[in-house]
Symmetry: C2
Subunit: 414 residues, 2 copies
């Protein structure tokens, strides 16, 4: 099938999906979950082809692990779909409705976006996840996964479509672009006629390519160079707990802490304790001159360190003379994802919340909470670091738009 045909099919089916009832959608999700589990052998054998090719191509152990499917992982994809079925359907909610002086009753109603394109990399579980969220929110989805996982993705999409069919629902609700060539991907990014939104999920390189080449509106799910600022007079033992959690609980995620900013008045007492606390994890702390002076074990930071998302057991550390300098440093180097202040001061807590320009700003808590599940959305399609449409964790609601519905009785404009 050509991209044009895929686009047209998605657009056509999106009309039908947009008016599906909650019950129908939930039944569809449950059937698809069943179908994945029932088709497990088919999926696993397709995945084995991908794994074999990947091993031949010398893929790293970490990447191989992300690519690999097991019965447990397939069950977990199915369980994800069942959980999405249990969530509230955001479609159809009327957010506001008012009568104008001329008698027009104007309401704003939540409706699906239409057709969502998802471009992602090696993890095949994204295939089922993305389908589930898009389908529940009434959207058609066109998936473009990485070439490494193509056999797995084909098998998963086939099982999803069979599940949909069994539920009497249109299988075009999910389509996979099987041609994973670069040229097709670029063409996909310009399919404005059919695709309403494009969401890239993957590393910084993928996201940059999509932002630079797409003419379709993009929701950027971004990298996180997350900061924690230790304020003058902060509870240092709370600071240590939070930093230990935010740095070491899971290093490869976008809401992990990458950089500390420490008020000079607490640095001498705090930094040696920090060194001790993070020592068991062998975290390399890259400090500015003053920090290294206090703890000689710190590695001197290079200027590039302030802007880096390490995703590793590394942490940069800068000492500042004032709250204002901390805010300025963070707003300059952060990627606008998640930042936290550890403080006992009411005024500075409020100012931090106001003045830091990030998707999620914390007082006295770990940045690791920036997550759709932790925020209580029940699901997450990604974390937006852009300001348009959605900012922060995106759940089902963020996969919808609104339309104005207007009830009149003959009104004309004077």
């Amino acid at each position: 099938m050509t991209l044009q045909e895929i686009g047209k099919r998605a657009k056509d089916v999106s009309r039908r999906l947009s008016i599906l009832g909650q019950t129908e959608k939930n039944q569809g999700l449950l059937e698809v979950a069943e179908s994945l589990v029932a088709g497990q052998e088919e999926i696993l054998s397709a995945n084995e082809q991908d794994m074999e090719r990947a091993r031949e191509n010398g893929m790293s152990q970490g990447m191989l692990d992300r690519l690999k499917l097991t019965p447990a992982r397939i069950e977990s994809m199915a369980e994800g779909l069942r959980q999405v079925a249990a969530l509230d359907d955001p479609v159809g909610e009327v957010i506001s409705m008012k009568t104008r002086p001329n008698g027009l009753l104007i309401g704003q109603k939540r409706v699906p976006l239409g057709v969502i394109g998802i471009i992602y990399e090696a993890r095949p579980n994204v295939t089922a996840d993305a389908f589930g969220l898009c389908f529940k929110s009434g959207n058609a989805v066109i998936l473009k996964g990485g070439s490494d996982a193509i056999s797995s993705n084909v098998a998963i999409v086939k099982r999803i479509q069979e599940g949909l069919e069994r539920a009497g629902l249109p299988e075009d609700a999910v389509q996979l672009i099987e041609d994973t060539s670069r040229s097709t991907t670029r063409e996909f990014m310009k399919l404005n006629e059919y695709v309403d939104v494009l969401i890239p999920r993957g590393g910084a390189g993928l996201i940059k390519t999509v932002v630079e080449n797409s003419t379709i509106p993009v929701i950027e799910t971004g990298t996180g160079n997350c900061h924690i600022y230790i304020d003058e007079g902060a509870d240092l033992s709370m600071a240590l707990n939070i930093i230990e959690n935010a740095k070491t609980q899971r290093i490869s995620v976008c809401n992990a802490c990458e950089s500390l900013v420490v008020h000079q008045s607490v640095a001498k007492e705090f930094l040696p304790q920090l060194q001790q606390r993070l020592n068991p994890y062998q975290v390399e702390i890259r400090g500015d001159e003053r920090a290294v002076e206090i703890v000689p074990e710190f590695v001197p930071a290079a200027p590039e360190d302030w802007g880096k998302e390490y995703l590793d057991y590394i942490l940069s550390c800068r000492i500042v003379d004032s709250f204002e300098e901390a805010v300025e440093h963070i707003n300059r180097y952060s990627t606008g994802h998640s930042e936290a202040i550890i403080t006992r001061d009411y005024e500075r807590a409020q100012r931090f919340l106001n003045e830091i320009d990030s998707a999620a700003v914390y007082v006295n808590a770990s940045t690791r909470f920036t997550d759709g599940f932790e925020f209580g959305f029940g699901a997450e399609i990604g974390i937006s670091t852009q300001k348009l449409h959605a900012r922060g964790p995106m759940g089902l609601k963020e996969l919808t738009t609104t339309k104005y519905i207007i009830y009149g009785n003959g009104q004309v404009r004077p």
Copy 2:
């Protein structure tokens, strides 16, 4: 100044603007209004330079009229700013706030977008309008007007900056790109480091160029191929009133009606009445075969007619056999702006509201109401026909984003 410098200044000042209080912002707007009126001679003489150049270049009368400023038009720009000062400030509103089981208090707060870029064409009043809306919503704005109005724009921005200065506010809140060359405009569209959102205001050509070339997120303010569907059993006299209003009240606007869809059961009775009602305006009606058969004065429509936004005394007219055919026709050819049904039938009214995929969908009212003022927003920066971020008329609220603010007391993620 280079574009990079303009961008950096805007980004810097946006931090300060984002935390300005309502009172300060309103005083700034009133000072700027004063400054425009007081500087009227300066602005008029700059405008005269633009007019002279435009006449030499053979600009059409209609375009000359849009370019021309008068004392009354300057007063009306000032009045616009005073009205914006009187509107509620959307910034700072906490849309929702909930306590999670772990005690984290998570709120979603409305904040400015940051730096807004506006690319527009000849009308110099946009300069003051756009500044007013962006400033009130706490954003810095970078303006890129057309070359035809460059002297007027320079003079207007100078007066705005003087007003801001008099109010003790940063003049970088508004900056004008004085180099109107195409290459600079293209460079501007890729200034992602500094600009958060780009809003093009102008004709279809300008909007297409921006959508295709910008790497900054764009809010598309679109063209309107608006439809009115006359249902079986409709109140025909209501239909005539609404069509007369939607087609003829103002032909050059995006919410004017461009196309009729008529149920075959009412066509014979309705179309001759329509011909008579629109005759005084010399509206050319381009009908399909069956329509022309009923009213021979109609002009036979070409296939291209169904997708056209005429912005003229022209109306296309198609007869359909069913409600479903009408919905399909409209969803296929509309630009997703505004569509109306004229009906007495409850079920079909509700279905039209649900099934038509447009920013504003009406029952028994004129499409001409799609407008920020008519919707009660008190202001309008444009009408979005895209689905991301804002759909339909955009007021102050649509110039904001949100951020999550999280109050903790030491929480870490298990």
